[in-house]
Symmetry: C2
Subunit: 297 residues, 2 copies
Amino acid sequence: MKTLRTVADLRSALAGHRREGETIALVPTMGYLHEGHLSLVRAARERAGVVVVSLFVNPSQFNEAADLEAYPRDEARDVDLASAAGADILFAPALDEVYPQGFGTQVRVGGALTDRLEGAHRGAEHFHGVTTVVCKLMNMVGPDVAVFGQKDAQQALVLRRMVADLDMPVRIDVAPTVREPDGLALSSRNVRLHGDDRRRALALHRGLQAATAALAGGERDAARLTAAARSAMDELGVQPEYLALVDPGTLDPLDAVDGREALLAVAARVGDVRLIDNTILIPDPVHTDATVATCLS
Amino acid sequence: MKTLRTVADLRSALAGHRREGETIALVPTMGYLHEGHLSLVRAARERAGVVVVSLFVNPSQFNEAADLEAYPRDEARDVDLASAAGADILFAPALDEVYPQGFGTQVRVGGALTDRLEGAHRGAEHFHGVTTVVCKLMNMVGPDVAVFGQKDAQQALVLRRMVADLDMPVRIDVAPTVREPDGLALSSRNVRLHGDDRRRALALHRGLQAATAALAGGERDAARLTAAARSAMDELGVQPEYLALVDPGTLDPLDAVDGREALLAVAARVGDVRLIDNTILIPDPVHTDATVATCLS
């Protein structure tokens, strides 16, 4: 695996592969790689002849200076992990390679996709920072496919909207959330969970599980499903910043799980670490058929 | 020349050329082609193996509904002209091919480049409309080079900023303004100049000429150069919306032509038609050397 620092070096490294018609995959990361990232690298490896992992802690998507400051970094470790997972190129540019003097362009996805959930709590600028840097990385690499994680479900939706709207010739694939054995969704921020906070951080997963169990028990109502989740979180003393049942394509709020898949998304602060998680609620097939029959009747 | 309507057809038509390593050039237009556009097509022809001319009247860059409504259209004529000038593909998509249901992404260049001159008078949204559609066209076509006209000098600067900032793998070339024999800069909007307005429209060029003559006579001061231009425009009863001496790279206002090239840009309404024009003021070499000597001393 090569570690490259400049767009020029990256492009020359890829030019030959592109001429040969090899498929190129991109896995954008902010580093401090964990098993979640590595699952994306492996998914990319299955899909492409050349796998590029980018490592760039993008300041413009941080809405809190303290979070950016505290974001963990360890490039030497990332090099070993990315290489072992099958990456061909680690692209780790410096800040001024990505945002040189005079930089002044922004790619924005507007509307509900960036206003709701994370957008409502971190501000839409967070997503504008994400779309801008990912658009740049796509143009630097020219991938056929880019792989993102389901843990950041809203981010994946926003990026798919950007790619469709700007006619970018790339496919976005989303890989499942990877969890610790106890269910905590992997996140680079988890290393900042100290003492009892590590245990309390389970609240998000427990909440999602409680709602899933309620659904399996026949509950369909959004208010009662989220109440079940809140109650489970409360047992660990964690209050959600948001906990919302929404359409997984549009993020429109749902009153109930009504025969189609629904996204249950949660964010919460545990100690000084902000965590997110989500699950797809799939209605029971029997109930689904009944609902469809009702709709058609 | 083929006329294509969909991104899918466009991409299949270009795929073979791209595999063969042929250079692809794009000339984005809003149609109603005139000799100015055709000079861009010929410039593209000299630079590339495949020349794509796009024809799309982009609603999002019009700040006045009446201007959009009145914008002249004649595709049959455009087909003949583009073909005769050497285009290989005319890409003329329908509105919903470019902006399908649910579209919600914008590419924005911020700061002085979009706030000043046209941005101050038409609003920065005009340029956001331009950058968004050009970003899309670039991604649809995947050109090696795109050719724009110097008449829209600010637009070319904004697009160069976008391409650099988003790392788009395309070069932007700018071709000189084409003029009528009497000096009027070609514009699709010129067909809307009726009666005496056609004669009065010369005011913009006459103003630029007056400033150029004043410079040749030794005048360097921005206020006096623009006063000379205003006076010439006034003779035709035309008042500029703006008339500004600026740095041709940053659009920063200049107090004088001080040894480097300066952009003198003008906009004015003649009848109900808004026109723009510009010229590069090049200081006299003797004066330039003197200025440099002064600066170095």
